[in-house]
């Protein structure tokens, strides 16, 4: 019975459900004051109310939009620069050490500067996300291209693959598993950056929802916002995982068991 439960598909959900139950009981019997932490049911009620008023989806929508615009720009630049520096020794010598220097500045430390540059509008938040996702994708693309087996590249040359064909058949697939690791990291950084950016200054989005609720001591909404972030993060990680399984079918380490 126990082993069957462990092996079943719902196994990963057991621990979260258990924690929710304990949390609910602790709140219900007054062990935890609802001014410290609302119970899960209260949070769910707040969620239902906000869903009905349409606010919740509006906030999720604007957060997601920022996240993905930032991801597309930052990831795109990171990928292209990683490709350039991976393929050209000259570009690498010129650019890599500068990029490494910038990488070591925590990008959230730039928030005061970013607010001065872009104000508190959309641009500032997207810019921060761009910075957050750029580095993981850059580093992993570069690493992926560097670690391609030179024997395979030589083989491809003997068999007459050049230019775009060489890139498409050998270099990109060879770097792909590493690039996808970068994508997963970047998705994590994407939400992290966005949470901080939205908490500081926003007039929509989940971060705004949380900060606004704090003003009115609506703890249930604050907790709802946190849970929303957890769910969105989990969703994007799952998407990345599905992508990995689809693109790396050939890889013995990713074979579906």
């Amino acid at each position: 019975m126990f082993t069957r439960l462990i092996n079943s598909r719902i196994a990963p959900a057991i621990v979260p459900i258990f924690i929710l139950m304990i949390w609910q009981l602790l709140g219900q019997f007054g062990w935890i004051s609802s001014r410290t932490l609302p119970t899960p049911l209260q949070v769910a009620e707040a969620g239902i109310a906000m869903t009905k008023s349409g606010q919740l989806f509006h906030y999720i929508g604007s957060s997601t939009w920022r996240a993905f615009i930032g991801f597309a720009i930052g990831g795109g630049i990171g990928f292209l620069l990683g490709l350039l520096n991976g393929l050209s020794q000259t570009a690498n010598r010129l650019l890599d050490s500068s990029i490494q220097m910038i990488r070591n500045v925590p990008h959230l430390a730039l928030i005061p500067l970013v607010i001065l540059w872009f104000g508190i509008g959309e641009t500032a938040k997207v810019f921060l996300v761009v910075l957050g996702v750029f580095f993981p994708i850059y580093l992993n693309t570069l690493h992926g291209i560097r670690s391609i087996d030179p024997g395979l590249v030589e083989m491809a040359k003997v068999y007459g693959l050049r230019g775009f064909a060489l890139y498409k058949e050998v270099i990109l697939p060879g770097a792909l598993s590493s690039i996808l690791v970068g994508v997963r990291y970047a998705l994590g950084f994407m939400w992290l950056t966005l949470i901080v950016a939205e908490t500081i200054s926003a007039n929509s989005g989940i971060g705004y929802m949380a900060m606004n609720a704090r003003e009115f001591m609506r703890l249930d909404v604050v907790v709802l916002a946190i849970i929303m972030y957890a769910i969105l993060g989990k969703l994007s990680d799952t998407a990345a995982k599905i992508l990995e399984e689809k693109l790396l079918k050939w890889h013995p380490n990713y074979v579906k068991r």
Partner: protein
């Protein structure tokens, strides 16, 4: 696949290669007629792999010239194919698509690829990923990839070195069979003298960047490991190991 794509004549004139101050090959002269199977043997680091890379057009000679038929080798050529020690299959392509890489310029013909896989006896594994194949099967897929382009010159860079003894004998037979069928010129680099004697019409020994021995193997095919076979094997081995120089000279006259 044409069964009589004839081989190319390979001419090497005073070719040499140096890396910085180190001379790897010097004054190599060879005339390999079309369709001949040549084995190049020697100790590791003697320059035999460098010679193969020169022939493949992967490196340029620092002196002399190499020519295939009447055109000089100055880069990678479509009529020359190479089989590497590690099969070098692209792990993200299924076997048949790996073989398709070898089909001449672009005309990605799946039928041709399947046919070539059939030649090496792996047609039923066409849809597999290379990762699930054994070492010998991978090398056979690589052989199919090399042959599907109907090369006129096939270069083999210790292709059987990493295989176990039984698989190796299988592969030797397969290579000999396909060579007899397609009549390409073949140059095999190996450190296994018995493999060289089993496969080649002619064995060339390279020592310190020079040709030290150029020996025709006058045995009938298919070759049996009989006394004559052992005689050739011993002759070459003795020369490599420089055992009893005088005695060996006497033997070489007795052929």
């Amino acid at each position: 696949m044409r069964n009589h794509s004839s081989g190319a004549r390979l001419l090497i004139e005073e070719a040499g290669k140096r890396f910085g101050d180190k001379i790897v090959l010097e004054g190599v002269k060879l005339d390999i007629p079309e369709g001949q199977f040549v084995a190049i043997v020697g100790r590791s680091g003697c320059g035999k792999s460098t010679l193969l890379r020169l022939i493949a057009g992967l490196e340029e000679p620092t002196q002399g010239r190499l020519a295939l038929d009447d055109s000089e080798i100055n880069g990678i050529r479509e009529d020359t194919r190479m089989l590497f020690q590690d099969a070098r299959l692209l792990p993200w392509k299924r076997c048949v698509d790996n073989v398709k890489i070898g089909v001449k310029s672009g005309s990605g013909d799946k039928e041709k690829a399947l046919e070539a896989l059939g030649l090496v006896g792996l047609r039923d594994r066409a849809k597999e990923w290379p990762g699930v194949l054994s070492g010998g099967q991978r090398q056979r897929v690589a052989l199919a990839r090399a042959l599907v382009g109907e090369p006129r010159l096939l270069l083999l860079d210790e292709p059987l070195g990493a295989l176990d003894a039984l698989t190796r004998i299988d592969m030797q037979q397969l290579i000999e069979e396909l060579w007899a069928k397609q009549q390409f010129t073949a140059v095999l680099v190996t450190h296994d003298v018995s493999e060289a004697v089993a496969l080649a019409d002619r064995v060339i020994l390279i020592e310190n960047g020079h040709i030290a021995l150029d020996l025709m193997i006058t045995l009938d095919r298919p070759r049996e490991r009989d006394n004559d076979f052992v005689h050739f094997e011993k002759l070459i081995l003795d020369r490599i190991l420089e055992r009893g120089k005088h005695e060996q000279r006497a033997v070489s006259y007795s052929i």
